[in-house]
C-alpha cells in the first residue's frame, strides 16, 4: 500500500493502539491534520502546547499506556519543552511528534525552524529527526518501544514537512531490533537470595517505594511483600498509591514533607529496601545522615540510579515487577516455617507508636478554612475513589499528606521537576482516558493560572474535570520558605491580585463556586463534584498556613519542624 508520510504516521499510531492524541496544528503539520479525520485516532485540540504534552503525560500516568502529542515546528515544539522535561523527570512514557521545516530548509533559519532535537536532547529518553520516508515507520515503532520499555520516558520524533508528503510503500515492522538498546529486566537470582537472607536477618526492615513500582505495575507484589513479611512501607511522592495508603503498615511519605514516623523509621531501620526510587534530595535530606544504621538494597531498572546519590550495599538492576515477583517467590515458601510478623513485631509496634504520637496534623479552627481540612473532606467525599492531580507547591504536599491513595495511578503529580501548571492539563488527559471517573485537580491559585487556558478544552470536549483551588493568595510554598528562612521577606509571592475564578469558569462555560466559610466546604464540594461539567471551586483558605512536618533543605531527616 503506497502512502504519504502523514498517512503512515496515522497508520502507525493505529498499529500502536493509540486512541487519542493531544495537539495543536500549524503549517508544518497541516498535512498530518489533513489525515486525522480519516483515521481512528481521536485528536483533542488544546489551547497551548504545554497543555498537550501535560495531557498526554496525565493520560499515560492514569492508564499506564503511552501518551501521544502532536505539535507544529518552532514555537509549537518549544512550547512543549517544559512538559517533556516534566515527563522525563518522572519517567513517563510519552511520544511527541513535532513538525519540522522541509529538509532543504533545515539549518537555514527558516520560518518557524528550531532545532528541537537539539533542544530536547537532555530531556528526552531519545529523539529522532526523520530524514527519510523509508525510516518513518521503523522510527515510530522504535519511539513507542523506547518510551515504554526499560525506564520509560518521553521520546520525540521530528518530522520535516516534505517527509510528510513523500510517498512510499507502507509496512509496519513487527519487532524492534536495536543492537545498542537492551534494557536489563530480569533480576539476578543470586542477588535476590542475598536480599532474602538480609530480610531474614533484619530486625527493623523498611521498604522505601518509589514511582518505579507504579510505572512497572508491581503494586500487588509490593503489597504482598509488605503485608506478608510484615515490613513497614514508606513512599516517595511518586510512589503514593503503590501500597494501600490506609494500611496499618503504611507510614506515608518520607523526606522534606514526610511524616514523623517515616523519617524516624528511615533513621532507625537496619535494612532499607529501596524499590523504584532514586534517592532524590527531597527524600534523603542531608545525605551523610540518611539511613545511618541500615544495609541498603536498591532495586531499579536504571543502573544509573544506583550508587548515584547514596552508596548501596546490594544493587539489583531489574524491572521492579520481576524483582518483586522473584522476592515474593523466594519468600513465599518461608511463610509457614518463618514467623515474619512476630520477628518484626517490636519494630512494627515502634513505628506505629511514632505514627500515633506524631500523626499528620494541623491546627484546625472555625474562623478560617484550613487547606488540610479541604483535602481531608475531598478524601471523605470521594472515599479515595478518584483520580487526583495536583499543581505544585503547598497544595501538592497537602494533597500528598491528607488524601489516602489506595490504588496506583490515582495521583498525578509532577514530582521530579515540580512543574506548576502540570495538574490541570494532566487531569484533562486522565479524564479523557476515564470519562466516568471523578478527576480532581487540587490546585494553588498561582499554579492554576499557568495553564488555565485549557478550561476551554475541557469545556468543549465535555471533560468534567474538577479544579479545587486552595486559594491562599500567595505563592504559598515559596512564601513558607520566606517566612521560615528569609525573615518574612515576602518578595514577589503575594498573589492577591487575581481573577474572579468563579466568573472565569463561567466565562469559559464551566461552573464556578466560591467558598469562604468553613461550614460550606463540604456541601459545596459535594455539589461541585455532582455537576456534570468542568468546575472551579475557589476556596479561600487560611493565607499563611504552612506545610509540616518540614525538614529544612540540607538538614537531616530527624531535624523536622513539626506543627
Amino acid at each position: 500500500m503506497k502512502l504519504t508520510g502523514a498517512q503512515i504516521l496515522l497508520k502507525c499510531l493505529e498499529e500502536e493502539g493509540v486512541d487519542v492524541m493531544f495537539g495543536f496544528p500549524g503549517g508544518a503539520v497541516i498535512d498530518i491534520y489533513d489525515e486525522i479525520p480519516k483515521s481512528s485516532v481521536e485528536h483533542i485540540l488544546v489551547r497551548h502546547e504545554q497543555g498537550a504534552i501535560h495531557a498526554a503525560d496525565g493520560y499515560a500516568r492514569a492508564t499506564g499506556k503511552v501518551g501521544v502529542c502532536l505539535v507544529t515546528s518552532g514555537p509549537g515544539a518549544t512550547n512543549t519543552v517544559t512538559g517533556i522535561a516534566t515527563a522525563y523527570a518522572d519517567s513517563i512514557p510519552v511520544v511527541i511528534f513535532t513538525g519540522q521545516v522541509p529538509r532543504p530548509l533545515i539549518g537555514n533559519d527558516a520560518f518557524q525552524e528550531v532545532d528541537i532535537v537539539g533542544i530536547t536532547r537532555p530531556c528526552t529518553k531519545h529523539n529522532y529527526l526523520v530524514q527519510d520516508i523509508e525510516d518513518l515507520a521503523g522510527t515510530i515503532k522504535q519511539a513507542f518501544y523506547l518510551a515504554r520499555s526499560g525506564r520509560p520516558g518521553p521520546v520525540l520524533v521530528d518530522l520535516p514537512k516534505d517527509v510528510q508528503n513523500q510517498i512510499t510503500e507502507f509496512s509496519y515492522p513487527d519487532k524492534v531490533e536495536m543492537r545498542s538498546y537492551k534494557p536489563t529486566k530480569k533480576p539476578h537470582i543470586g542477588q535476590i537470595r542475598k536480599v532474602v537472607k538480609l530480610l531474614k536477618q533484619a530486625k527493623k526492615p523498611l521498604i522505601y517505594s518509589g514511582g518505579g513500582v507504579i510505572t512497572s505495575g508491581s503494586h500487588e507484589e509490593l503489597t504482598w511483600l509488605g503485608q506478608k513479611l510484615s515490613i513497614p512501607v514508606t513512599s516517595t511522592l511518586m510512589g503514593l498509591g503503590a501500597f494501600p495508603g490506609d494500611d496499618e503498615l503504611f507510614l506515608g511519605m518520607l523526606g522534606m514533607h514526610g511524616t514523623y514516623a517515616a523519617n524516624m523509621a528511615v533513621n532507625n531501620c537496619d535494612l532499607l529496601l529501596a524499590v523504584g526510587a532514586r534517592f532524590d534530595d527531597r527524600v534523603t535530606g542531608k545525605i551523610d545522615t540518611f539511613a545511618p544504621n541500615a544495609t541498603i538494597v536498591h532495586i531499579d531498572v536504571d543502573p544509573t540510579s544506583i550508587q548515584k546519590n547514596v552508596s548501596v550495599h546490594v544493587p539489583l538492576v531489574a524491572d521492579c515487577k520481576s524483582a518483586l515477583a522473584a522476592l515474593k517467590k523466594e519468600t513465599k515458601g518461608t511463610l509457614d516455617e518463618y514467623d515474619w510478623a512476630s520477628d518484626h513485631g517490636d519494630w512494627v509496634k515502634q513505628v506505629q507508636e511514632w505514627s500515633n504520637t506524631h500523626p499528620l496534623t494541623y491546627k484546625d479552627d472555625d474562623k478560617t478554612i484550613k487547606p488540610q481540612y479541604v483535602v481531608e473532606k475531598i478524601y471523605e467525599i470521594t472515599k479515595g475513589d478518584a483520580i487526583i492531580a495536583t499543581e505544585v507547591g503547598q497544595n501538592q504536599m497537602w494533597a500528598a499528606q491528607f488524601y489516602k491513595y489506595t490504588k496506583p495511578n490515582t495521583l498525578l503529580t509532577s514530582g521530579g521537576l515540580g512543574t506548576m501548571g502540570y495538574g490541570f492539563p494532566a487531569a484533562m488527559g486522565a479524564q479523557k482516558a476515564f470519562p466516568d471517573k471523578l478527576v480532581i485537580d487540587i490546585a494553588g491559585d498561582g499554579s492554576i493560572q499557568m495553564c488555565i487556558q485549557e478550561m476551554m478544552t475541557v469545556v468543549c470536549n465535555k471533560l468534567p474535570v474538577k479544579i479545587v483551588i486552595l486559594n491562599n493568595g500567595y505563592l504559598g510554598m515559596v512564601r513558607q520558605w520566606q517566612e521560615l528562612f528569609y525573615e518574612k521577606n515576602y518578595c514577589a509571592t503575594c498573589m492577591d491580585a487575581q481573577p474572579d475564578f468563579v466568573k472565569l469558569a463561567e466565562a469559559y462555560g464551566a461552573a464556578g463556586f466560591r467558598v469562604t466559610e468553613k461550614k460550606d466546604v463540604e456541601s459545596t464540594l459535594r455539589e461541585a463534584f455532582a455537576v456534570d461539567k468542568p468546575v472551579i471551586v475557589d476556596i479561600r483558605v487560611e493565607r499563611e498556613e504552612n506545610v509540616y512536618p518540614m525538614v529544612p533543605a540540607g538538614a537531616s531527616l530527624t531535624e523536622m519542624l513539626l506543627v
Binding site: R121, M178, R179, S180, Y181, T304, Q307
Partner: protein, 163 residues
C-alpha cells in the same frame, strides 16, 4: 581525581557526538579529551574519551554512557591493560643557533619534522602521555608557538603469549 580512558562504541547516527558531549556538559562531568572515528564495522564509530573524576563519578559516567540509546559498548580501559597513543603537532622557535639541538631531540624521541621555515620547525610526535609530556618539557625552553593535540586513542591489549 584521576584520568580514565573510556572506549565507547556507538551507532554512527546523526547527533550521537552531541549526545555524548552533552551528557558530559549537562551533568558537570569533565572531558579531558575526546576522539571519534569510524570502525571496521559499518555504521559503528569508536570514541575514545579521557575523563576526569573520582571513582564514583567515573562509575556514573560509564553508566550514563551505557544508558544512551545509541551506545553499543563502553569499556573503562584504565582497569585493563591497554595501548594508548596521542598525536601532537608542535610549532617551535628554531633560529639557526638552536636548530641542531632541536633536531637532535627530534631524533632521540623518534618523532618527525613535518614543516620548516627559517625560524620555526613543526614537529609531529606520536606516543603515550609520558613521552609527549617529556618532549613538551624539553622543547618549552625554545619557545613552543603553537600546539595541536588529537587527544588519546586507545585499544585494549591483545592477550599476550608467554614467550
Amino acid at each position: 581525581m584521576s584520568k580514565h580512558t573510556l572506549s565507547v562504541m556507538v551507532e554512527n547516527e546523526p547527533g550521537v557526538l552531541s549526545r555524548v558531549a552533552g551528557l558530559f556538559s549537562g551533568r558537570g562531568f569533565n572531558i579531558y579529551s575526546l576522539n571519534v572515528g569510524p570502525t571496521l564495522e559499518k555504521g559503528v564509530s569508536l570514541m575514545t574519551i579521557v575523563a576526569e573524576g573520582d571513582d564514583s563519578i567515573v562509575e556514573q559516567i560509564v553508566k550514563q554512557l551505557r544508558k544512551l540509546v545509541p551506545t553499543i559498548k563502553v569499556k573503562d580501559l584504565t582497569e585493563l591493560s591497554s595501548v594508548e597513543r596521542e598525536m601532537v603537532l608542535l610549532k617551535v622557535n628554531a633560529e639557526d643557533s638552536k636548530r641542531a639541538e632541536i633536531l637532535r631531540i627530534v631524533d632521540i624521541f623518534r618523532c618527525k619534522v613535518v614543516d620548516v621555515s627559517p625560524d620555526e620547525v613543526t614537529i609531529e610526535i606520536t606516543g603515550d602521555q609520558g613521552k609527549i609530556n617529556a618532549l613538551i618539557n624539553l622543547l618549552t625552553r625554545f619557545g613552543i608557538k603553537e600546539i595541536a593535540r588529537t587527544g588519546n586513542v586507545a585499544l585494549r591489549r591483545s592477550m599476550q603469549l608467554d614467550l
